[in-house]
C-alpha cells in the first residue's frame, strides 16, 4: 500500500505482520499446526497466570507491586459487573473477568515490537464474541423462559410501531456478535497497520524525523486504545448479560 514510496531497502507491507506462519518448519497451516498465533496466545495465558498466581501468592496487608496490580484489576472489573449487570450478575463475574484480563494482556503483549497481535484476527475475537452471545442467549432463556422474547416486543412503544421495532430489535440482537468481534479485531488491526505504514515512511531520510515522531505518538495512542478496547469488550458483555437477566428493564 503506502510502503511503495518509502521502501527502497526495506520493502515491508503493512499487513505482513498479521500473516500466520508455522513455527517449526514450513508447510501448510492445518488444524493443529503450532503457529505464531498459538505461541502468542499461549504467552498471553501464561502472563495472566503469572500475574494472578504470583501476584496474589503473598497476600500481604501492604501489597507488593504485582499484588496491587492484580487487586486493582480485580476490583475494577468487579465494580463494573456490579454496576452494570446488577447484584445477580455477579455470579458470572469470573467469566467476564477472564475475558477482560485475557483480552487486555493479549492486546498489550501484541504491542511489543516484532510480536504478533492475536486479537487482530477475527477468528480469535469471533470465538469469544460467539461464546458470549450463546452464553447470554442460553442464560436469558433459562432464567426467564419464553418471556425472554419480550426484549423484542417493547411495551413502552405505541402498538402500531411495535412490529417494526421488533424487526429492528431482532436484527440488532443477531448482529451483536458481529459488531462485538469486529470492533476489537478492527481496532487492533488498524492501529498496528498505521504504525507499520509510518515505519515505511521512516526510511525516507527527508521525512524520517517526522515519521518517527508520528510512530511514537501513534504508539502512545495505541497503548490507550488496547486498554479501552478490552474495557469496551467486557462492558458490552455486562450489558448483554443485563439484558438476559432483566429483559423487561
Amino acid at each position: 500500500m503506502a510502503t511503495e514510496e518509502g521502501g527502497t531497502q526495506l520493502n515491508i507491507h503493512p499487513m505482513d505482520q498479521f500473516i500466520i506462519k508455522p513455527l517449526f518448519g514450513g508447510g501448510e497451516v492445518g488444524m493443529f499446526t503450532i503457529t505464531n498465533a498459538t505461541l502468542w496466545l499461549g504467552l498471553a495465558v501464561l502472563a495472566v497466570i503469572a500475574l494472578m498466581v504470583f501476584g496474589t501468592r503473598g497476600r500481604a496487608i501492604v501489597p507488593s507491586r504485582s499484588q496491587s496490580i492484580a487487586e486493582v484489576i480485580y476490583g475494577f472489573v468487579y465494580k463494573m459487573v456490579e454496576d452494570i449487570a446488577g447484584k445477580d450478575g455477579l455470579k458470572y463475574f469470573p467469566y467476564i473477568f477472564t475475558l477482560f484480563i485475557f483480552i487486555l494482556v493479549a492486546n498489550v503483549i501484541g504491542l511489543l515490537p516484532k510480536s504478533f497481535t492475536t486479537t487482530s484476527h477475527i477468528a480469535v475475537t469471533a470465538t469469544m464474541a460467539m461464546a458470549v452471545f450463546l452464553a447470554v442467549t442460553i442464560i436469558g432463556f433459562v432464567k426467564n423462559g419464553m418471556s425472554f422474547l419480550g426484549i423484542f416486543w417493547i411495551k413502552a412503544a405505541p402498538l402500531p410501531l411495535r412490529p417494526i421495532l421488533a424487526l429492528i430489535e431482532v436484527i440488532s440482537y443477531f448482529v451483536r456478535p458481529v459488531s462485538h468481534s469486529i470492533r476489537l479485531a478492527g481496532n487492533m488491526m488498524a492501529g498496528h497497520a498505521v504504525i507499520k505504514v509510518f515505519a515505511g515512511f521512516a526510511v525516507v531520510t527527508l521525512i524520517s524525523p517526522a515519521a518517527i515522531g508520528a510512530i511514537v505518538a501513534i504508539y502512545a495512542l495505541e497503548s490507550l486504545v488496547v486498554c479501552i478496547q478490552a474495557y469496551v469488550f467486557a462492558i458490552l458483555t455486562c450489558v448483554y448479560l443485563k439484558d438476559a437477566l432483566h429483559p423487561h428493564h
Binding site: 459488531s179 462492558i235 458490552l236
Partner: protein, 80 residues
C-alpha cells in the same frame, strides 16, 4: 477508449473505498457522544464519574455502525 482488466474487480475496489466514508459518520457519532458527556460533566462534575460507563456503551453503539462500513469494505475486498 477500451478499458482493460477486470471491471468487476475495479468496481469492488472502488466500492470498498466508498464504504470507508461510513467511518466518517462513526467519527461524528463518537465525537458527539463524548462532547455531550464532557459538557454535561462540566456542568455537574459530581455526577460525572458515575456516567463514564454509560459513555463507553454509547461510544460502542455509535462505533458499531462504522464497523459495518469496515465490514462491507472487507467483504468487497476479499469475499465478493
Amino acid at each position: 477508449m477500451a478499458i482493460e482488466g477486470d471491471l468487476v474487480q475495479m468496481g469492488a475496489y472502488v466500492g470498498a473505498g466508498l464504504a470507508c466514508t461510513g467511518m466518517g459518520g462513526a467519527a461524528v457519532g463518537v465525537g458527539h457522544v463524548v462532547g455531550n458527556y464532557l459538557s454535561g460533566a462540566l456542568r455537574n462534575p459530581a455526577a460525572a464519574a458515575g456516567q463514564t460507563a454509560t459513555m463507553f456503551i454509547g461510544i460502542a453503539f455509535a462505533e458499531a455502525l462504522g464497523i459495518f462500513s469496515f465490514l462491507v469494505a472487507l467483504l468487497l475486498m476479499f469475499a465478493v
